[in-house]
C-alpha cells in the first residue's frame, strides 16, 4: 500500500509520534495518580474529644491551623468512653485524645497493650480543664422569676414542670445529674429530692446505701413513667427542646449552657461536682448501671469532680504535631480561647509526670502546674 517515495519515512515518523504521545499520556497519568501535579497535601492530625469540648476546640483548631498552614486538624466529638474506644478497641489511629472524665485514661489505656507490641496505649495524661453541673433553662421556662440556687429542687419538683434528662446509661451528663440529685439529698437532708424532681420510672430507679455511700441503680431500660420527665440520648439533644419550650429545665454543663446563650442556675459547690477540694464529699454517691454498654467498661461511677484529661496515644501517627497542638492548647492562646468559650481551665497537672514527652513537663511548670 504505502509504495510512494518517502512513505516509509513518514510512517516511521507517525509511529514515533504515536509512541511519544502514548509515553506523554502515561507520564501525565502517573503524575496525576501520584499527585505530583497537585498542591502538597496538608498533614491531617486527628483529635478525638469529649462532645462538651467541641465548642472551644473548634476555635483552637482554627487558631492552630492559622499558625501552621501545612496542618489540617480534624476534631471529632464523641462520648468520653467512645473517644478512647476508637483507639483501644476499634483500633483507629488518633493523635490526641481529650475526655471529660480523666479517670478513664488510666482505666482504659494504661494497662491496654497496642496489638503486636509490648507498649501500652498511654502511660501519662494531663488534667487541664473542669466544669460544673447545673440547671439550664430559657425565657420560655415556667417559674423563671422564682427559681434560684437555693430553691431549685423545690421548683423542679412541681408537677407542671417538664424536665429534660440525658440518658444516664449513654451520657456522662445523665449520671452526673443523678449524682447531683443524690448529693442534694445529703446537702439539704431530704431523701425525697431525686424522686420528686425526676418523677417515677418504669422499671424504677433503685436507691440504697453501700456502707456510707448512697447508690442509685439505673435499670437496663430508662423509661419515665410520667410525662414530667423527657429522656434523650444526650444532653445536647435537650437544648432544642428547651428552645422550643417542650421542656422547662434540664441538667447541663455550665460551659454548654453559656455557649448556647441559655440561662443557668449555679448549684452549691457540694452538689455541682465542680470543686476539686470536695472530691471526698462527692465520693459519698455512686451510680450503677444495670445495662453494660461496653464489654470492657464496668458501668459503676463514683462521684468525683468533673476534670478533663488529655493524652497522646503511644501509637499516634503524628505525635510531634500532637505535642505542638497540646502546647498551644495549654498555653496562653489556648487559655484565652477557653475563657472566651466559657469553659473553665485548671492549672495543668500531670499523672505520671516522669513519662511526659520532653518539653511538656517544663511547660506545665511554667504554667503553674506540675
Amino acid at each position: 500500500m504505502n509504495n510512494w517515495p518517502g512513505a516509509g519515512k513518514l510512517a516511521m515518523k507517525t509511529a514515533n509520534k504515536v509512541l511519544l504521545v502514548t509515553l506523554a499520556l502515561a507520564v501525565t497519568a502517573a503524575a496525576l495518580a501520584t499527585g505530583s501535579c497537585s498542591k502538597p497535601e496538608k498533614t491531617k492530625v486527628r483529635v478525638l474529644c469529649a462532645n462538651s469540648l467541641m465548642y472551644p476546640l473548634d476555635s483552637i483548631e482554627k487558631a492552630f491551623e492559622a499558625l501552621h498552614p501545612d496542618i489540617d486538624i480534624l476534631t471529632e466529638g464523641h462520648g468520653s468512653i467512645q473517644v478512647i474506644r476508637h483507639v483501644t478497641e476499634i483500633h483507629e489511629e488518633s493523635d490526641l485524645l481529650i475526655v471529660a472524665d480523666d479517670s478513664l485514661i488510666p482505666m482504659m489505656m494504661y494497662a491496654t497493650k497496642i496489638p503486636d507490641t509490648d507498649k501500652n496505649y498511654a502511660d501519662w495524661y494531663i488534667k487541664f480543664a473542669g466544669n460544673t453541673l447545673g440547671i439550664a433553662y430559657s425565657e420560655k421556662s415556667k417559674y423563671t422569676g422564682e427559681i434560684n440556687g437555693n430553691n431549685w429542687y423545690q421548683v423542679l419538683s412541681r408537677p407542671d414542670i417538664k424536665l429534660g434528662f440525658a440518658d444516664a446509661r449513654l451520657d456522662a451528663c445523665g449520671y452526673y445529674a443523678l449524682m447531683s440529685l443524690a448529693l442534694a439529698e445529703l446537702y439539704y437532708k431530704d431523701d425525697s429530692i431525686l424522686e420528686n424532681v425526676l418523677g417515677p420510672f418504669d422499671p424504677p430507679l433503685k436507691t440504697g446505701k453501700e456502707g456510707t455511700v448512697a447508690t442509685i441503680t439505673v435499670p437496663e431500660i430508662l423509661r419515665p413513667a410520667s410525662d414530667k420527665t423527657i429522656v434523650r440520648g444526650s444532653s445536647i439533644r435537650l437544648l432544642a427542646l428547651l428552645d422550643s419550650g417542650d421542656i422547662d429545665y434540664s441538667f447541663e454543663y455550665r460551659s454548654v449552657a453559656e455557649q448556647q446563650g441559655l440561662k443557668f442556675i449555679e448549684l452549691p459547690a457540694e452538689i455541682n461536682l465542680g470543686s476539686a477540694a470536695l472530691a471526698d464529699y462527692y465520693g459519698q454517691v455512686k451510680c450503677v448501671m444495670e445495662f453494660q454498654r461496653f464489654a470492657t467498661v464496668l458501668p459503676v461511677f463514683t462521684g468525683e469532680p468533673i476534670i478533663y484529661g488529655v493524652t497522646i496515644p503511644a501509637n499516634a501517627p503524628h505525635a510531634d504535631i500532637a505535642l505542638q497542638y497540646l502546647e498551644f492548647l495549654l498555653g496562653e492562646e489556648g487559655q484565652k480561647i477557653f475563657v472566651s468559650s466559657h469553659h473553665p481551665m485548671i492549672p495543668p497537672a500531670a499523672d505520671n509526670p516522669s513519662n511526659l514527652p520532653p518539653g511538656l513537663e517544663k511547660l506545665l511548670k511554667s504554667l503553674g502546674g506540675g
Binding site: G8, A15, R293
Partner: protein
C-alpha cells in the same frame, strides 16, 4: 525500504500488544477491586427461655426483607444519611427464638464489645425522630428497627458496620440518634424485664 517497513510493522505489533496488556491489567485490577469475598459472619439469636439459634449472613439475607429509609446523627450533630436500606425486621428475628412481648427487652451486641438495648415500645417504632436538615424533633408515622445488610443498594462497608448493622428507619427519611445504629451485630438476645 524493506527494513523500514519491517520496523514499522514491529512497532505497530508492539504497540498493539502493549495496549492489550494494559487493558488486561486494568481489567484484572478492577475485577479484583470489585470482587467481594464471601461473607463469613454468624449472628446468635437467644430467646428469653434460653433458646439459641445461629444464623449465617447468607441465611439472614434469605429471610423476608424490608426496605425503608432513614439515617442518624452523632452526638455532635454530624448527619449520616438518610439512606435507602434493606434488611430483616428485628421482631422477625426475635420470632425465630420465641418472640418478644411488651414485658421484654432486646439486647443487641456487636463484635467490638458495644451493645444497645431496646424495649418493646422502641422496637415497635417509639423512638424520637429528627429532621435531617434542622435536627429538630419531628413526629413520625411508622418507624421500624431493622438488621440491615444493604445500604443505598450496596453491601455495607467496613466503616458502616459490615456485614450487618442495626438501623431505625421508616418511609419519611428521618434521622434518629446514632447510638441505636449498632455496627457489626453478632448477637441478639431477648430478655425478660421481670
Amino acid at each position: 525500504m524493506k527494513t523500514i517497513k519491517g520496523t514499522q510493522s514491529w512497532l505497530t505489533i508492539g504497540l498493539i500488544i502493549g495496549v492489550i496488556l494494559l487493558i488486561a491489567a486494568a481489567a484484572i485490577y478492577f475485577f479484583n477491586l470489585n470482587r467481594e469475598e464471601p461473607v463469613k459472619w454468624d449472628v446468635t439469636l437467644v430467646g428469653k427461655n434460653g433458646n439459641q439459634k445461629v444464623l449465617s449472613y447468607q441465611e439472614i439475607c434469605k429471610l423476608p426483607s424490608t426496605e425503608a429509609q432513614g439515617g442518624f446523627f452523632t452526638t455532635v450533630g454530624v448527619v449520616n444519611g438518610p439512606y435507602e436500606v434493606k434488611g430483616v425486621l428485628l421482631q422477625d428475628l426475635c420470632a425465630l427464638v420465641g418472640g418478644v412481648t411488651a414485658d421484654d427487652v432486646v439486647s443487641i451486641s456487636a463484635n467490638d464489645g458495644y451493645s444497645m438495648v431496646f424495649d418493646y415500645e422502641q422496637l415497635t417504632g417509639d423512638i424520637p425522630t429528627y429532621d435531617p436538615v434542622t435536627l429538630h424533633e419531628l413526629p413520625h408515622e411508622k418507624q421500624e428497627v431493622l438488621l440491615i445488610y444493604q445500604q443505598d443498594g450496596k453491601s455495607l462497608s467496613d466503616s458502616d458496620g459490615k456485614p450487618l448493622r442495626l438501623s431505625v428507619v421508616g418511609s419519611e427519611r428521618l434521622l434518629t440518634e446514632g447510638h441505636n445504629w449498632v455496627k457489626w451485630v453478632n448477637k441478639i438476645e431477648v430478655m425478660s424485664l421481670e
